[in-house]
């Protein structure tokens, strides 16, 4: 059964709506002088399980559904949504949103043509991929195996989350598209204690697939091992240095640097409005020639992947920076139209109750020529940041910051002591110009990223090979 048929069954059928009802709503929107309009239907199932102190502490389940109606004229947007998928409610929403445009026009009519695109993940419901007893057994096994790893472990907290999202988008050009989106995630947090000193470590993973991924090559048990390793490293960590120094970033999750420092500044809305430090710089050099950065929504089964974005546009592998030269921005339909370019499949929204905007999918840097070890060996004195917590950027000034959760001093080409609490701060538009070595070890993160923008959260992926940056400010306490 194709995705559109599935979405009709899970969203429209329970509400007693037909395609012809969506056409009625669209025709009402099109009676005003709008440039674009869409109706977004969504039905989501979500569950979470938490194990703590060796017991299954709680589980929760949620079902949400609703529809959002949007009309766009020029730079103006009218938007209304409802959790009641009913024709009169949605007709009223349509009436409200088209008030953004004052003049009417001759009635146009939409006739929907189903549109299909290449899917990058399956449609099966992860919540049903395991029996509840199997989910509980998985958590118990991870808990008991993790606790056996070290006698300094004091607490293990494990969470398992699954979501199954169906969306259906109808747009003013008659396009009717749908997507079925599974998403799972597991996280293990470990607290260790030694001589009164307490530290923690966390590791997790997931993707657009079902829970059986956690059994592949004992992935779930590996999260526990890695969380314990991180916590034990932190027990030995000394105060981080402060000041400007050479920083080597590890492969994989440290790609959050690209996401924060570069990615946000390349979102179409900021650049259309001229509020980004990267505005008007397409064609200019923004990185060393070693740097090629892409945003790729088409990677099979990845957390940040989408078959279509939330405006029905198929996702792409979009080159943002090629050999250091800025090539283009990530676009949704509205900003693409206003900038005279094509949408890139980056129009995303947290839910039917939020407006879409340009957002990242999976953002990563392509690999270079060097072995990771060779890169470390080239540094006389500096910091190796292997793992990160979160980060943040001011897209206007370009300043970004992120926190290392695992970092080591590099002394004479060797990793020496682990350091704690290091924060890195820099300037987005020039950080890539200081990339002097790029590793051959591209890795994507394990599938845990969530990006926030304007109060909306969406799942994303990041990645990179090992990178050497000549000069980044490290904010430690040791001066």
């Amino acid at each position: 059964m194709d995705r559109l048929t599935q979405a009709r069954q899970s969203i429209l059928a329970p509400a007693g709506l037909q395609d012809s009802d969506i056409e009625k709503i669209m025709n009402s929107l099109l009676s005003a002088q709008v440039d674009a309009a869409d109706i977004y239907f969504q039905s989501s199932h979500f569950e979470s399980w938490v194990m703590e102190s060796g017991i299954i502490k709680e589980g929760s389940h949620s079902i949400e559904k609703g529809a959002g109606v949007r009309a766009v004229a020029g730079e103006k947007t009218g938007f209304a949504y409802s959790d009641r998928i009913e024709l009169p409610v949605l007709m009223e929403a349509a009436n409200n949103v088209k008030a953004i445009v004052r003049q009417g026009q001759e009635a146009r009519s939409a006739l929907f043509k189903p549109s299909h695109s290449q899917p990058y993940y399956g449609t099966s419901n992860p919540l049903k991929s395991l029996a509840d007893q199997q989910k509980v057994d998985l958590l118990r096994k991870v808990d008991s195996e993790t606790r056996k790893l070290d006698n300094r472990i004091e607490e293990v907290i494990i969470s398992l989350i699954g979501a199954h999202d169906s969306i259906l988008v109808a747009s003013q050009d008659g396009q009717l598209t749908a997507d079925i989106r599974p998403l799972v995630r597991m996280n293990v947090t470990v607290i260790v204690v030694q001589n009164g000193r307490r530290e923690q470590g966390s590791m997790g993973g997931g993707g657009r697939c079902d829970y059986t991924m956690f059994f592949d090559e004992d992935k779930a048990l590996d999260y526990g091992k890695e969380a314990v390793r991180l916590a034990l490293v932190n027990l030995e960590a000394v105060e981080a240095p402060a000041g400007n120094m050479t920083v080597v970033l590890g492969s994989g999750w440290p790609g959050i640097l690209l996401h924060e420092a570069i990615g946000h500044g390349l979102e179409g809305d900021f650049n259309r409005k001229g509020t980004s430090a990267f505005s008007g710089r397409v064609g200019e050099r923004v990185g060393s020639s070693l740097c090629t950065v892409v945003d790729d929504g088409t990677l099979p089964g990845r957390r940040g992947s989408l078959s279509i974005d939330d405006e029905g546009t198929p996702t792409e592998n979009t080159v943002l920076i090629e050999n250091g030269i800025l090539k283009g921005y990530m676009q949704d339909k509205l900003n693409a139209r206003l900038m005279g370019v094509s949408p890139t499949g980056n129009g995303r929204r947290e839910s039917y109750a939020h407006l879409p905007m340009p957002r990242m999918t999976n953002t990563y840097m392509l690999p270079g020529a060097h072995d990771a070890e060779e890169i470390i060996r080239s540094v006389e004195k500096g910091l190796f940041a292997k793992n990160f917590g979160g980060g943040q950027v001011d897209i206007t000034s370009g300043k970004f910051v992120f926190s290392a959760s695992e970092a080591y001093l590099i002394e004479n080409g060797k990793l020496t002591r682990p350091v704690k609490g290091a924060t890195l701060i820099g300037n987005g538009p020039d950080v890539l110009t200081r990339v002097s070595m790029v590793g051959n070890d591209l890795q994507l993160d394990s599938g845990v990223g969530t990006c926030g923008k304007d109060g909306q959260s969406v799942p994303v992926g990041v990645g990179q090979p090992t990178l050497k940056i000549d000069g980044l400010t490290v904010g430690g306490t040791s001066i």
Binding site: E47, E52, I55, I56, K57, E58, G59, S60, H61, S62, I63, E64, K65, G66, K76, F79, A80, Y81, S82, D83, A93, N96, V97, A99, I100, D132, Q133, E155, I191, R198, E199, Q200, A242, N244, K273, G274, T275, A353, L355, G389, G390, G391, Q392, D394, T396, S397, K399, F400, V401, F402, S403, G421, A422, T423, I425, T473, G475, G476, T477, I479
Partner: protein
Amino acid sequence: MQNQDEINRLTALVQLLLDEAKEQGASAAEAGLSIENGLSVTARMGDVETIEHHCDQGLGVTVYIGQRKGSASTNDLSEASIKETVTAALSFARYASEDAYAGLPEASWLATEFPDLDLYHPWTLNADQAINMAIACEDAARSYHADITNSEGASVNTHQGIRVLGNSLGFLHGYASTRHSMSCSVLGQRGDSMQRDYWYSVARDAAKLESGPEIGRKAAERTIRRLEGRKLSTRQCPVLYAAEVASGLLGSLIGAISGGNLYRKSSFLLDMLDQPIFPEFIHIHEQPYLPGALGSASFDAEGVVTRTRDIVADGILKSYVLGTYSARKLGMQSTGNAGGVHNLTLDSGADDFNGMLARLGTGLLVTELMGQGVNMVTGDYSRGASGFWVENGLIQYPVEEITIAGNLKQMFKNIVAVGNDVDYRGNIRTGSLLIERMSIAGE
């Protein structure tokens, strides 16, 4: 009153949820329901940009089978959905483990009196009026200075909602509240330096909002003063947290004395009850019954009565911040803080902002923080910052792309003064805070 009819209707739905839970075999249950309507309007570059009509509803139920707990929620308030949601919660409870600490609050902890806290002030504002207010707000910002070159817009938001909470111990109460806000964010440019800053006002009663032009002017002034920021060299110096960022430090305090972090032993303030954690002049208390305040509530997210009480007196930690589960885990009583604190207030000192700058003398004034560099387990603190370099009590130049670092345990003890320039816009009320010494990392 129509509003009271709606509260009654929703209260009946919560009772239906509780009855259904009992019917399906729950030994105890708690249910909550909320609906909210609102309007958000944004104007940018002198014209309307977005009009959003908000309409949200949701219900959630937590059930217990003996000491086993399960939860479920939905945004479908139909009777069929209520039945399904209860069934889903019960099926989760059947897989949960027996947990000796799980359960509803003690009946004696629950609120029994519901004073009117003056939280409901609907704003009859149509989209056209909101657009005009937003445009006036943004105009004031854009015309403030020639270096204001661009805008992210001004927005006007109004929300009203009803919340109902009930449990199988007989607690059942609903109330209406409103929340209105206005904000503005503009960009300034001088040479290569481009900066953005913002200002906002929020209140339960629209009459208490700062005027749109006032908000616009503040947003513009804050943007202009950041232009041509410099880095600092790496050093140690005193740091003054402006009131709008000082509340974040108190947020970290609340995190560290919250039940969840305490029983998990993931707090840098373990076993500090009745111990000094601040200098003697620091007094921090909770004021849940302030009329019309943003954090006011007569009961918490579990129906437990809230109390006006000291959290820190004479620098000594007097109370944790607990809900029912964490209280039982710690062998204590709930403090009425399931869901958070209510108007947490740090008593002010004598100095206004300029007085605090004079006390700072030579050092760093921080007006914005970035990133998440706070480790709750160890208290290690390292965050991106921007602000101003101050000499002899006078602002010299803007500073950016630096980090400030320390350990919260020491930072709390090293507070040397609290300003009376209190920021009332949030649930945490404090003036600016002066810390004797922190590490700055820069060039």
